[in-house]
Symmetry: C2
Amino acid sequence: MLKGRLGCSLLSSTRRTFITRVTVTHQQAPRSLSLARYSSQSGSNSGSNNSSSTGRKDSWRTMAESDISRYLQETHDRVFDHNRAWAAEQSKNDPEFFTKLSAGQSPDYLWIGCSDSRIPAEQITGLEPGEAFVHRNIANLVVNTDLNVMSVINYAVRHLQVKHIVVCGHYGCGGVKAAMTPKDLGLLNPWLRNIRDVYRLHEKELDAISDETARYDRLVELSVVEQCRNVIKTAAVQQSYAKNQFPIVHGWVFGFGDGLLKDLKVDHEAMLHGIQKIYNLTE
Amino acid sequence: MLKGRLGCSLLSSTRRTFITRVTVTHQQAPRSLSLARYSSQSGSNSGSNNSSSTGRKDSWRTMAESDISRYLQETHDRVFDHNRAWAAEQSKNDPEFFTKLSAGQSPDYLWIGCSDSRIPAEQITGLEPGEAFVHRNIANLVVNTDLNVMSVINYAVRHLQVKHIVVCGHYGCGGVKAAMTPKDLGLLNPWLRNIRDVYRLHEKELDAISDETARYDRLVELSVVEQCRNVIKTAAVQQSYAKNQFPIVHGWVFGFGDGLLKDLKVDHEAMLHGIQKIYNLTE
């Protein structure tokens, strides 16, 4: 059960969000929810089942509040429906699946990616449950005073002994764009400032790119490389690599346009040697 | 190309990890790598293609260093193979898929889950790309001084206007067990101490559970509820809820034994009222 209901203010303040959401889920029928279904069921806007965005927008405007509440209830419940179906399918395909999953984890990969909803790490990489330890934050940043990501790296390297650490950014990153906007974003300022610090380090190269989108995309790449550097600066990674020759740190960028991962071909060993004059922690 | 190669020390220091890894991936054939395949190709341990864990262990012991290096190279390359296949499949199923994905995100859900590799948030919930903004850290903690998770919540609520915030823990959480172990874990101590703080709040109830596994599982649940409380303590959530009646905060626990999500039925509104005597930030 939902523990709250929508007030009328929802209709004005979040209409855009809902409309876009419905547009996206419309592609995923029959699994996902459809706004048209709500309208026709409530009878408040019969005949509005056309598939144009205008039609959906009109449907939403005239929806009864109870329909909106029902939408929220179903977006809650559908997750449990999907989860039961997923669990049943796994058991059907391999009756021992969950027994083996219960036995423990031993992932080869640590994935440090963006929180952006469009980049489900396991799906785009084809990695199965048990294969990738995952940390996702805004703009896939690795900050040395951030106990959250530092704990993740420490545990992944020292306890799970991962073989690969992937920092994966993506073109069109909202966090990167927000960071370069001359606007006070409150609590987000100190987090996003790390991206401005990357810009500062590469100011000359970035200023020379006149096209704004191209400049942001290059900043995305440069930030990923800088975050790889930050991973390698940790004692855990330096000491493990000196002893075991792993983990290897990789910088990748995901493109929404084609769904492909681009390998920035970070040279782990050269990067390590490059930073160790100042950041050596192996002794 | 991998930027590093394995030294001999790998054989002793990480044998257990690799063996478990191979055991797990063995279930996933033909997509994943198989140790037996390496051994038979290298000829270093012919006849070792039996599927018992002992057989695999022996195979690993006698593998040539070049095989190990090749294993690492392939665990890198296979991600790109899978990614290309995934992208092609998406385009085949819906030629407009990536065009629509490029248009932006408007997720209904914020997922705060554990980094554990066995809980791919989108797979177990059936949520599609674009539906869930995701943060994952060790033991799915929400700490008020953690700029990382606080930025995620702030952005998700104020900018993406998510409707649901899910804190999802899991039974058998290594982080929870580690937190209750009387051992100095270095950098991990301050992060995991948050779990001990939850224990302290519920000491009487937990001490009364004699079975250790049952006690840990209950601590997992209590910690999830406490993290929900921490989410609700934020100004972003309180103010948005006062204005819009969302987001709704949920506490769930994933079970490896059956793959099912358990809804702890956190009462968002009651919890909000409960904390506002002290934590009210709505004005």
